[in-house]
Amino acid sequence: MSPRMVPAAADRAGRTDRPLAITVDGAPVSGIEGQSIAGVLLGAGRLSWRRGPSGPRGVFCGIGACFDCLVTVNGEPDVRACRRTAREGDAVLTRERE
């Protein structure tokens, strides 16, 4: 019961996926080329990755308006995961800055 990708074989859009690997807090996570970082995380079954003031947070608005989905990418903090396209080898940190 978690979010997932539509399997390419069953996708009416006729996708040709090229796999992509990033790390999230050091652990490898696989996605496909072209996905946003939020898409990779959701596609891997993760619903939340950040601590908000009242509990865990993931994607809410999906288009860059709510800032719920913030992550650190390759050392750059406060990147909206729903807007940033994932690149091979991206090192994503979900922990808040100390």
Partner: protein, 466 residues
């Protein structure tokens, strides 16, 4: 030659670009997304190499022709992955356009444009009223669920309830089903009587929007009807679960949206997709100094001119009526901004007027009731960024001396988080107004998009259109 800059490449912005080109102008189109289309014609990432994208879209061919015509035009510069973070007003001239190119929220890529005319077509984001548990993971805006399904092929949950108000709930449910999910119910908060009054009155207004009406009727009578009940006068009043959504409680609503006690039903779900209409993205129009219509939308005249010289507005920022109406407004705005003769587009303008009538009809059929605070609890979070709850806001509003908008913000921190009140702003403004407090212009954000301090301090590359 007139240099027109168009901000936003959704239905409104693309049509504006096309008609400004037709009028003879040189056009630069800016959009923060990787591909044109905006929220309606959301294209899959190029890397997906999708052969049959048209199967996911209404009106794909016409859109695809238009986006190619614009992008391949010799007088057009199409600049994707470019966000406008500020507009700098100038006397008697349209504002300077400050932009950042490249990956979202990355450092570098700062530049500035100096247009003769500016078309604003920045669209909207979902409006969501708070309810207990709406901050749990698994609660998405309806638009987010739609964007992920259509634009990335990610299904947000296997069993998702779609709720809120507006015709937009139907395409969202259809996309979830198409992507292989189940939708146990679509819950429209307004009662059937309100919908009928709004939709049935003055039927002739619907004729020019027939495309939209047929699209909606298709959802209502197609596969959705057999697989998903559409229930009116009912809303999700609570989402529950341990660290994520596991079930929702829905309740019947009175016409004013106050929940009827004793009508609660529990529904197991793993996702909630909720939307109560749309909030126009007004940061840039406000930064440019454009006057607003009742504080809600950008005020425009019959030629889509705003109150600022050389600045035009089109699409959802001037009223919410769906993609066809947005495109018609964009066409008028682009034509006039590009130096075209307004007298030469009488038919287009008439079509635009009917689009506006459609917006009024939508608003009548899907109003926001005033009784929704009835489902709030003292500990319901209102501001997702700062965690401000209903109790804290009410306390601040009870002290008349402190209930000025600024005092409420500083005292409760609602609206001071990273989203700068984009999500909670309308809620806090409404609750403040009802308690008799003073309401501030929630859209005033001098920085419309995040910018790194190093970029702010650096000098931008000055760009001139050809």
């Amino acid at each position: 030659m007139t240099r027109v800059v168009v901000i936003g490449a959704g239905p409104a912005g693309l049509a504006a670009a096309e008609h400004a080109l037709r009028a003879g102008a040189t056009v630069t189109v800016l959009d923060e997304a990787e591909r044109p289309g905006g929220q309606y014609h959301r294209m899959l990432p190029r890397a997906y190499a999708a052969r049959s994208q048209h199967r996911l879209q209404h009106g794909w061919r016409a859109f695809d022709r238009r986006q190619r015509r614009v992008r391949e035009h010799p007088r057009c510069t199409f600049s994707a992955r470019t966000s406008v973070w500020a507009l700098e007003p100038r006397a008697d001239l349209p504002p300077l356009v400050h932009l950042l190119r490249g990956a979202a929220d990355a450092a570098g890529g700062r530049a500035v444009l100096d247009p003769d005319a500016l078309v604003l077509a920045t669209g909207a984001h979902d409006r969501v009223l708070p309810f207990p548990g709406w901050d749990l993971p698994g609660v998405f805006t309806a638009g987010a669920a739609q964007a992920l399904a259509k634009g990335e092929r990610v299904l947000v949950g296997e069993r998702a309830v779609v709720c809120g108000t507006g015709p937009f709930l139907l395409p969202v449910a259809a996309s979830l089903l198409e992507a292989g999910g189940r939708v146990p119910a679509v819950l429209e908060a307004n009662p059937a009587a309100t919908l009928l009054r709004g939709w049935a009155a003055r039927g002739w207004e619907l004729v020019p929007q027939a495309g939209k009406a047929i699209e909606l009727a298709g959802y209502a009578t197609g596969q959705l009807r057999h697989r998903t009940p559409y229930r009116t006068g009912r809303a999700v009043v609570e989402a529950r679960g341990d660290g994520r959504v596991e079930e929702v409680v829905s309740a019947r609503l009175r016409p004013d949206w106050s929940p009827v006690p004793g009508t609660e039903q529990v529904l197991p779900v793993d996702a909630v997709c909720v939307g109560h209409g749309f909030s126009p993205r007004l940061e840039l129009p406000v930064a440019a100094g454009c006057a607003l219509d009742r504080g809600e939308f950008v005020l425009v005249d019959g030629d889509q001119r705003t109150s600022v010289a050389g600045v035009y507005a089109a699409g959802e920022i001037t009223g919410v009526a769906g993609a066809p109406a947005a495109a018609t407004e964009g066409a008028v705005a682009g034509w006039v901004a590009g130096g075209g003769d307004p007298a030469g587009i009488t038919r287009l303008r008439r079509r635009r007027d009917r689009g506006r009538a459609f917006a009024a009809r939508l608003a009548r059929a899907h109003p926001t009731g005033s009784g929704w605070p009835g489902w709030l609890r003292p500990d319901t979070v209102l501001c997702r960024c700062e965690g401000t709850d209903y109790r804290t806001l009410r306390r601040a509003l009870e002290r008349p001396a402190r209930s000025g908008a600024r005092a409420v913000r500083l005292g409760t921190r609602a609206g001071l988080g990273p989203c700068q009140g984009r999500i909670c702003g309308p809620t806090v403004a409404e609750l403040t107004a009802r308690s008799g407090g003073e309401v501030c212009t929630v859209h005033h954000r001098p920085i419309a998009q995040p910018i790194r301090l190093a970029d702010l301090a650096g000098t931008p590359e000055k760009e001139r259109d050809r």
